[in-house]
């Protein structure tokens, strides 16, 4: 287990409860700037999130955000980041998972949260992380013809893929 910086010797009750609930699946945790964060094994995403959602004292019933961070130099390249929120207790938890570039697959949490549907589609669209069990995993912000995943660090910002050339409405001679 790794404890990161942040200067908090004492864990918050939320983080403590989450750590004991996810016992054996946690690979690290920290509370940098007061944001409780746990790192969990990717294969455990669905069961772990379900446990966090159903636990009485935690009750994380609202999935605020799901996104991905790309670390191309790491062995496990993609970091899937979930932000959970409890409408009952008003506390938050960040849960992170790591997947590799060769097999960028992680269980979907669409059975638990409706909002996971679109956010996981966006994560797939932008990073190419596959969410196993997602009912409708297709591109959402970009178009079907788009090749590659634009928010990966190795995708060049200027590498545009226009579907058609700009039109000048006859202001140029070449337009005839």
């Amino acid at each position: 287990m790794t404890t990161a910086d942040g200067g908090t010797d004492k864990l918050s009750p939320v983080l403590e409860a989450a750590l004991s609930l996810l016992e054996g699946q946690v690979t690290g945790y920290h509370a940098f700037r007061g944001d409780d964060t746990v790192l969990v094994k990717a294969s455990h995403r669905l069961e772990g999130t379900r446990a966090l959602k159903d636990a009485e004292g935690l009750a994380f019933d609202l999935l605020m955000d799901t996104t991905v961070v790309d670390w191309p130099d790491d062995d496990e390249r993609f970091e899937v980041v979930d932000h959970l929120f409890s409408t009952k207790h008003h506390h938050r938890l960040r849960v992170k998972y790591r997947v590799t570039e060769e097999d960028p697959s992680i269980p979907s949490i669409t059975p638990l949260y409706g909002s996971a549907n679109w956010m996981e589609r966006e994560a797939w669209d932008m990073f190419g992380v596959k969410f196993a069990g997602h009912p409708d995993l297709r591109r959402i912000l970009l178009y079907e013809e788009f090749e590659g995943f634009p928010l990966r660090k190795d995708y060049d910002k200027l590498d545009a893929q226009p579907l058609f050339e700009p039109r000048y409405h006859g202001t140029r001679e070449s337009d005839g």
């Binding site: 940098f32 700037r33 980041v81 932000h83 634009p150």
Partner: protein
């Protein structure tokens, strides 16, 4: 003129009839060429993105049985400009103008959320006066946001006069914000560790004049025009129903969630800035229909007005105090110093060329935006450029659950449902 009562005006004639049998419809992807017996009686229509009601940025493919929507597939993304990718290539300060263009009905709320996320990474406290002005302008922006949303939504129902009243006041407010920020729409007023410039008493006087006179008259007139209007009530009540449990499951926040009867407000349960020093109520709806969302927004304008009224003397009491932190890691030195000593010149140069460099780490900061929880998740690798800048967009997430409201409704109901979700293209598609 007094604002009509803010009690829940549900007993205004007529009966509340929920849509029968909505539960039997489910979300599914629409394949017009699929072999399906039912399809023989159904029509597939394509609304948008070039449709005035879709704000030019959303496509809705609807499957109709007569006039009833029985299948729906929502396509966002027509305004995707790569906010996150652009941020990664710019310094933290250079990203501030990009945040203006997320929710362009209340740019200042985006500005403040962005810079406060970076201040959280630095772990610095901004001066009291700075916090007070940020709160004042955030509430001021929330009013313009709600006025735009409600005015446009009413106009789409055919009520042009409330739209004109509301947009008139909104534009006075924007012109007035322009006097302090230098821009009417893309305001870029926040700075990491402070604000671009100070406000003075004369500006506050005029702000309160707009709020206390023009806005109040506007609200009174709009209430008078639509509150007992049969057409308005019939098209709003019982339409676009959303259960509280569904709303939570689909990540709804802000006025849309409060319309469903869940009283969650970031300003209340986790007060940032100095929201614990002001008093305000969190209005909630009852049934989660269009009318509730309209009602919650109207009441929130009054609550924002209440907050502004409390902040006004508090800001005046701090006249002359600093509005930026004195921290060379993020604040530009004064020009007189830059031109007279080498340390300040170097500091200026480094901040401009390399950017402000927060410590390594990650943070998520949430503000109560105009239409829901606006959050920024920033990962810093210790350089002047954000390693990852993620905006948690309320509009996008609300659009992910809009099919629940659309299924079982009539085609004509798409417009008011869509209007009350208040989808802002810039924020939805980023």
């Amino acid at each position: 003129m007094s604002i009509p009562t803010s009690e829940y005006p549900y007993d205004v004639g007529g009966e509340f009839v929920p849509i029968p049998g909505r539960d039997k419809y489910v979300l599914h992807r629409i394949y017009p060429d699929e072999e399906d017996e039912d399809l023989a009686n159904r029509t597939v229509i394509n609304i948008g993105p070039s449709h005035p009601a879709m704000h030019g940025t959303i496509k809705i493919i609807g499957e109709l049985d007569g006039e009833t929507i029985v299948g729906v597939d929502v396509h966002p993304g027509y305004l995707h400009r790569g906010f996150a990718k652009e941020c990664e290539a710019h310094t933290y300060h250079q990203c501030i103008p990009y945040t203006d263009r997320l929710n362009y009905c209340s740019p200042l709320i985006n500005n403040f959320c962005w810079v406060e996320a970076i201040e959280k990474l630095f772990d610095v406290e901004v001066p009291r006066r700075c916090n007070l002005i940020r709160m004042y302008l955030a509430e001021y922006s929330r009013i313009t946001d709600h006025l735009t949303c409600l005015g446009a939504a009413l106009m789409e129902l055919g009520a042009l006069t409330p739209f004109l009243y509301m947009i008139e006041v909104r534009d006075w407010m924007w012109e007035h914000i322009c006097h302090v920020t230098g821009a009417r729409l893309t305001q870029t007023y926040a700075r990491i560790g402070g604000l671009a410039r100070d406000v003075d008493d004369a500006w506050l006087d005029r702000a309160m004049q707009i709020l206390e006179e023009n806005l109040k008259v506007c609200l009174g007139r709009v209430h008078g025009l639509v509150q007992h209007n049969r057409i308005f009530l019939d098209r709003m009540r019982g339409i676009g129903l959303m259960k509280a449990a569904d709303a939570i499951s689909y990540g709804y926040t802000g006025p849309v969630l409060r319309g469903c009867g869940v009283g969650l407000d970031v300003r209340k349960y986790a007060p940032y800035e100095l929201y614990d020093e002001v008093e305000f109520d969190v209005p909630i709806g009852k049934y989660g229909d269009n009318y509730d969302r309209y009602f919650v927004r109207m009441r929130e304008i009054e609550e924002s007005l209440k907050i502004c009224r409390q902040l006004d003397p508090m800001i005046r009491a701090t006249n002359g105090q600093e509005i930026t932190v004195d921290d060379s890691r993020m604040t530009l030195p004064p020009k007189s110093e830059v031109y007279s000593n080498i340390e300040a010149l170097m500091n200026h140069f480094k901040l401009i060329m390399e950017g402000t460099r927060p410590p390594k780490g990650e943070t998520y900061l949430a503000h109560e935006g105009g239409n829901g929880e606006l959050g920024f998740y920033i990962v810093s690798d210790g350089t002047g450029f954000p390693y990852r800048a993620r905006c948690r967009p309320p509009s996008f997430i609300h659009m992910g659950g809009i099919h629940l409201q659309l299924l079982g409704s009539q085609v004509a109901d798409i417009v008011p449902i869509f209007g009350q979700i208040n989808m802002i293209g810039g924020e939805c598609d980023r």
